[in-house]
Symmetry: D3
């Protein structure tokens, strides 16, 4: 690619992924409302408030691929969720439509289905059961993405990220952990594939106790390589084991199900 | 019931349903941003802009059932959709939560799945394929409803209305027609049932050529009684038959799939 | 048939069915541990304690069809359940094997699946979820029946009876009611069919709010004719409507789920 | 339609259907290798040997709809099956492709799945289990039809005819009977529908003991009206009931499963 | 755990597992009707006849986990099966209920589904098809376990053991073998998991030709490590290959399907 | 085996497989219409035109296993397809029936389902969607094979070969490649298994991006060992990547979907 846009590039996930994606394009454009350290030789930063259509349009112009990590990524008051994840996503999609439909990797979330019990195994077609307003905003996002695919042919990977961290740190993450390396190789595979469509993809490593089934996705030629099981002993030593009545042991979304509807 | 709230009561659907629901409660509260003619002996009107949390709260207070027909019901610019169907629905749900979780009949839409071809038969778990921003807002609404059910036990019937008119008027409506009588008997059954949960319900009559499968719903004890087939001859005489390449003959959402993304 | 055996013939269900089955055979043998009034011209009574192998053998000898209503039909202490429904059923099957494998109609029960919520719709392959020791004994019975079919070709209809009474009497029975007429016509169809195999059959009338799906059974040519809906008004007038937290409104097995493990 | 072609028009099925289809087109062309009595005012006969490409081409020219009943319809030696149903069908499809892709009603057969036991209930996607060379030739035909639909957009209804006779005459036909009236109304619905695609359709009336499931087809707006059950008493009086070991009681294809591979 | 109870500890399977489970608890209580050699430093033996409620109660008291291997494990006369596996299991469950619901690992069996052909692949919800009275008693056991889970929350792993031996010894065991190591790691995972519920688990190693599908179980974080394939050459050299008509080549339960109903 | 017949032995696939199958039988009979170099010490050549029943009969006589690679393997005019793959297969099956039903490995093809999009994952029961006349002839072949299995018990493995070459050479073959080694080990497993039946088997290696699901086949004890992924770098360097609108990127059958109906 000539230019790959990474939104939310100044966030934790953006910083972790940037070096791993550097070779995917001649230029990596870092979009964020916050300043992003430009560290790579082919990186450029562009300030952008996702709520402003003209700013999003300028950011997307000239890019032939988008990794959309921007917006709200935790539970927040509803007006912030609307601004960042609902209006913001609409602005991004309108900009992509105006600029040639560059392929999009959309950071969706396991919190779209967080109320399923941990004993369920889910495929991509399980109905939404969001665990908070943040999760609902990602349901909105996946629905909007599907609309633009059906109406305009806008391709996107809807990646329901589990827990994307350096290493798994609690019992739930033995199931939900998504290594930075596996996320990067998934992004590479999604851009490499001649056809992408608009699939739901579970963003999770090859963990022994994974709840999610990516077997519908074999055509993509991507296989997760890491396995949270390697950290089990460390976790069982360091982390308190949740009792069976706790949300961390009951629901796939874990403690998000305990969140109140957030008001400031 | 003591008091049943009907939002959007001044609209076409509200006016058609009101006489049929009059016996369900001692008082029928008609909520709308526009004035609603108070015609029934037990009706009362209350002005309400769904975008104002305090107004919604006042409208919901004292009601033990809600038929939510309010908001945008056609394709409109995105900011109107956000205000009426996203912020507005959040306000309604927060008000219901504050006032004892009265059961809600939520007017969702077939436009949540409008991009499926007419040769598909859908059950309630088919993934969303909205056919416009209006449809996406209803996907948001169903997701929010599911969240409040899982988190707070708020019961609701998510009624994906087909074409709710006095009679079917074109070829597509031979499949999608939902008679006023069948909608009214569904609302009655949903309030009557000891348990409701949060089911997706296809709002459609017992049409010979119906695309949607309500067989998951037999526990409710509701059966549609009307059948659009009775109007076939009249329609075939009066309405132009769509050619196979037209959206009216291809997609379940019909001409909505032709809509552009609406901008004013 | 020459001789049809009805076990448990002195019980309420036996008495209700006998006149309706009189034409199925030249002689109707009434088997029961209690005396059964011989009222029909072609009826004969035979005393039998199901716990005694020799008594069961004598009762079965010479019969070319069996309607097995005998044994325990309510929650009772475990030793009674073992004697009547576990040892008793084994004795019946051994006797049938010794006497030419006469076709068996086995009165199983909805209490084999009583813990499913009322909002589920079940087909014949749903795993067991019994609601008491009585229900467990019927799970045993269905398993034994399947064994004798696979090993010896013993055909049987495993009829999971809902609520077989003169008329439906409470809200749950709007879903579970099985009219005497429909049971009788099912028995006739099961004996008439050239091949029976060993199917699970939901013993339920054509109620609007039925939870159970007999669509796997169309080959049998049997259709229930009655519908509990005809009694709704009477029930809604006379019977207390269960609140949503009550087992009568939550579980398919109704109040059986409230039963303790019975000890005398 | 201007001109509707009925092949095999001189056969029993052709003769029964012709009066019922007379209003579908201005001219009804009767194609057959045998002379067909021209009885209707708008009928014309055209001689055609399906094995001759040029003859088939001439017969198809000028028609805007085809009801293909021609070819072999019983078990015959393999070379006859190849000529009539394999080469013949290829010729018909090539002619249709050359003349504007007129919609085709293809008389397939229950003998494509005749080896399924009668206790199975089949949907349209059950893998083939033909019961003879005739059945295999219809598997070929459905496969060829699907190819021409995917490659050229040739629409066709693949009607797996059960037993299309004036009335049901044996126990198996209580399940498989397809009345002439229901076949005619199906043909009308298939030509009327704006879109047809290439669906498998079970050609069977609304028999109580039907084995086949047309519920995928509700979009077509066709419902069978007749029911073989009305003849049960007559059949049980006049026809010998098959014993359970007989193919007429075991397999959906009935006695066809007993046929040897036919050699002359 | 403080104290883990292993019933049937004097049997072959008990002796094989004991050293592998020694670290799971401070004390390992060995329950059996036969004397069990106390060989481990933290083992204690307790005599128990499962048919005696008071004896079972005493054995269970003070244990916070149970591995239930006791009872009949081969085909035996019905009265022995009733005593050991039906009354005995009821006694065990009543004792567990009286003593705080310690988690149970229940040794169920592949003989609950032994009549399925070897060419079927089974998930946990396949209906029972037991291959003998022993198998029926395990169907009873799984049903009782489900009852106590639904009614009282008693958690249990229902392990359908294949062939748990030191190494696989015949062709069928290439599919059914369950290594001692894999069983021990499964038991550890079942006690370790914060939530267990009442799942059916196929007790089988990671054999290339395994018939059973544990993919519903990924949340448990257990993976079998051994593979019978490593013994194929040895088996093909030493064991007679069954001909296709033999039960060892036809049914999942193997030679158990040949057993008569056992009488002494 | 005493004698294994390989038809089409002079073709590319035949030549590649022969050395790998040499140990399966004392004698390897090479059947082909073209001369086959006899290179192995236990090979014998026999000329055979599949269109001649007597020649096929002579070739099959005395063989106790058949690997049927003969016939047309690319798109050709319809009369050649009929002769080689329809009449020829019938002749082979009739010969096998006359000579004791030796087990058959039938080289079917992915072109039976070539019109499915590459984003679908198929199991063995997906309805046929052939991509040409060659593909249709293989649909015929699988249907005929199923008939002879149901009617006569003729066992066969219906191997839908992907791309059986020395190494994968383009992007599509990263999904479809079937190594010679994996095909040989599959043949060995199919002859080794006590029971074979008549399964559909995807002939494909363990490629990361495989579209086809063999999980129904675990009872066979066969696992593919090779993985096309090892050649990805080489392919991405040497082969042009198809654009998303090309059949090579859209359909499972690849460029076969572009073929016209072949006429000479």
């Amino acid at each position: 690619m000539k230019r790959l846009l990474i939104t939310g590039a100044a966030g934790a996930l953006g910083r972790a992924l940037r070096p791993r994606l550097a070779l995917l394009a001649e230029t990596i454009r870092l979009g964020d409302i916050a300043p992003a350290d430009v560290t790579g030789p082919n990186e450029e930063w562009m300030h952008c408030d996702l709520a402003e259509p003209w700013a999003v349009d300028a950011m997307v112009a000239g890019c032939d691929g988008i990794v959309h990590l921007g917006g709200i990524s935790v539970e927040r008051p509803f007006d912030e969720v609307v601004t960042g994840n609902i209006v913001g996503l609409y602005n991004l999609y309108e900009a992509a439509r105006a600029h040639g439909l560059p392929r999009i990797i959309f950071a969706s979330s396991n919190h779209t289905i967080g109320y399923y019990p941990q004993t369920d195994r889910l495929g991509p077609d399980a109905p939404f059961r969001p665990d908070g307003l943040y999760g609902v905003s990602k349901c909105f996002g996946e629905s909007l993405a599907r609309l633009y695919f059906d109406k305009f042919g806008q391709e996107a990977a809807l990646v329901r990220i589990g827990s994307c961290t350096t290493e798994p740190m609690d019992h739930r993450m033995l199931s939900t952990w998504f290594s930075h390396g596996d996320f990067a190789s998934l992004i590479e595979a999604a851009f490499r594939s001649p056809v992408l469509g608009c699939p739901v993809i579970w963003g999770v490593s090859a963990n022994d106790s994974c709840w999610w089934d990516n077997s519908h996705l074999t055509w993509l030629g991507w296989r997760a390589k890491d396995n949270a099981e390697a950290w089990r002993e460390k976790i069982e030593t360091n982390a308190a084991k949740p009792t069976p009545d706790k949300s961390m042991a009951r629901f796939q979304g874990g403690a998000f199900t305990d969140n109140p509807i957030f008001k400031e």
